[in-house]
């Protein structure tokens, strides 16, 4: 809950409103009027709010914090009017089960308030002089915006002009996981002006060894939202937009249009091809990386240079490739996605500055186990049905199957009735757990037979291969095939 008040803040009374038997932690932040600002003495402050908008925005910030930090109950009060030195101007209290959530939610609310709340303060200096403190200037002053990039702008390849290009750039990061986290962190650190993050999933404990934007406090939080908040802490001057949801044929063009560079940090070929085709059609450079255990691949794709993703995989469908390249990717070496994600950030910055060199004509294979790196030269295949028909691609409507009815939970499976079969897909050498009915994932013929007999629900160890196969079968026209959602 968010409130504005023109009366003194009573911390004891506010704390009493957050009493709850299940709350093991009460975290309180109180922002007070201090007697100096940017080296100047201050005698008193005056706060003026754009009342209705401030209430709406304050409420939005509080509910966002409660969504990121599940179970946290947040109360926030902001003062308006004249305040004396030492008086509380803002009060934030968070009741939560555990301290991590409390501290993180409290921090989130105050940082977002400082950036977003339409409340202005007028500082009174000794001798009667007074000035309104501009919020943006304050954000810049707090981080030393220019100084933050000083060591980077000192590079001859960057310079003041290059730094301005980065500040004017728009970059889209699709997938905020093992690759997207380090990539986005370095892009925010480099001073990219506007970053958009796309991810529909939530933070899990098993993500934390590699998804470095998140801590234990964010487990359960929507990744796009939690990552955006974390990046704003890193660079408050950057505009960070979060899109909570998957990258789909329906939103692909709207998300990619107007971007200067797009990063593919997804984990499946269906998304990779959709993203690639959209970028190719709209002429937006794409920096793509993928990781298997200790190894990764990096590609920069740009219209008209070095061929396209289809040139590499001519005749193979995203569905085929997901079957082969995915579930086996369950185990992952954290530094491998870290290195590849940071390489994506490096290629992005180089593209924006015009220093991309030969990267748009190469695949880079990186192996962190033996330390080797191999560069493969790419070129356009004259028989590629996509590169050679770019005009058609530009006009085409995406056709990838991303029907959400594909995904069922346990209740959904029960609702299918007694004739429905649930099948566990095994990888080579893998046994199905607990005596479940299993089919080898590459045995498409058997799966088609089963789907013909009745409703078919697919599951597997990580849920990726089963989703890929269900999409593949749907794409063939089989309507009664589903995949079981994890947990």
């Amino acid at each position: 809950m968010f409130e504005l008040t023109d009366r003194p803040i009573d911390s004891t009374a506010l704390q009493a409103r957050l009493t709850a038997p299940e709350a093991g932690a009460l975290t309180v932040f109180e922002g007070r009027v201090r007697n100096h600002h940017l080296g100047q003495p201050v005698t008193k402050l005056e706060y003026e709010a754009f009342d209705d908008l401030a209430r709406l925005e304050g409420e939005a910030i509080v509910s966002e914090a409660e969504r990121i930090y599940a179970g946290a109950k947040v109360l926030c009060v902001h003062r308006t009017g004249p305040l004396q030195i030492g008086e509380a101007a803002v009060w934030i209290g968070v009741a939560s089960a555990h301290r991590q959530t409390g501290f993180a939610a409290c921090r989130h609310v105050i940082e977002e308030l400082k950036l977003r709340l339409p409340v202005w303060k007028k500082e009174h200096h000794p001798g009667g002089a007074a000035e309104w403190v501009n919020c943006t200037a304050e954000a810049a002053a707090r981080t030393g915006a220019n100084e933050m990039f000083a060591r980077q702008a000192a590079l001859p390849e960057v310079g003041a002009a290059g730094q301005q290009k980065l500040a004017a750039a728009r970059v889209l990061v699709v997938g905020v996981g093992g690759l997207g986290c380090p990539a986005a962190l370095y892009l925010a650190g480099a001073g990219i002006g506007h970053l958009t993050l796309v991810d529909g999933s939530k933070v899990e404990h098993s993500n934390l060894h590699r998804q470095i934007l998140f801590t234990t406090a964010e487990v359960g939080a929507p990744k796009a939202l939690a990552a955006a908040a974390r990046l704003r802490l890193h660079n408050p001057a950057a505009r960070i937009t979060s899109h909570e949801g998957e990258f789909t044929p329906q939103n692909a063009r709207a998300l990619v249009a107007g971007q200067d560079v797009v990063l593919d940090c997804t984990d499946n070929f269906t998304s990779r091809f959709l993203l690639h085709d959209t970028c190719l059609a709209l002429g937006v450079p794409l920096v793509q990386a993928a990781v298997h255990r200790f190894e990764g691949t990096l590609d920069v794709f740009r219209q008209g240079a070095g061929g396209c993703l289809h040139c590499q995989w001519l005749g193979r469908t995203p569905g085929d490739l997901d079957l082969a390249g995915n579930c086996a990717g369950g185990p992952v070496f954290g530094p491998a996605v870290g290195v590849l994600g940071v390489m994506q950030a490096a290629e992005t910055i180089k593209l924006l500055l015009g220093h991309e060199g030969d990267a748009p004509r190469q695949t880079r294979l990186v192996n962190l186990l033996d330390g080797s790196q191999l560069i493969i030269e790419r070129s356009a295949r004259p028989d590629c049905p996509v590169c050679s028909r770019l005009d058609q691609l530009k006009a085409a409507k995406p056709t990838t199957v991303t029907d959400t009815s594909l995904f069922l939970n346990a209740a959904g499976v029960t609702a299918l009735g007694a004739t429905a079969q649930t099948i566990y897909l095994t990888e080579p050498g893998e046994a199905a757990p607990g005596g479940r009915s299993a089919v080898a994932a590459l045995d498409l013929a058997r799966l088609r037979e089963l789907a013909a007999a009745g409703p078919l629900v697919l599951t597997c160890r990580y849920g990726v291969r089963s989703a890929a196969l269900a999409r593949l079968l749907r794409g063939e026209g089989t309507t009664n095939v589903f995949t079981l959602t994890q947990a």
Partner: protein, 84 residues
């Protein structure tokens, strides 16, 4: 069919795990990467990954599986990788 010559093979990711080696020196008469992969599957029974889902690079360039091979060629088989 050409006469026997030495070809250097390199595997990545799941192929390396299946073959149990990251590099191999092969003496073979095979005409192209497709035939080479089939021959390697014969020598390494663990190498079950379907050839239809591979990319191949010869001398650090992507090529078709039917591109003729020459003595001393460096052949890299690359499986699909999508993890992120």
């Amino acid at each position: 069919m050409s006469s026997s010559r030495q070809i250097n093979v390199r595997f990545f990711a799941i192929l390396r795990e299946q073959a149990g080696a990251s590099t191999l020196m092969v003496n073979s008469t095979v005409p192209d990467p497709a035939a080479l992969y089939a021959e390697l599957q014969g020598r390494h029974p663990g190498l079950t990954f379907p050839a239809t889902l591979l990319r191949v690079a010869v001398n650090e360039r992507y090529v078709a599986m039917t591109t003729p091979l020459a003595a001393g060629d460096r052949v890299v088989f690359i499986p699909p990788v999508a993890g992120g």
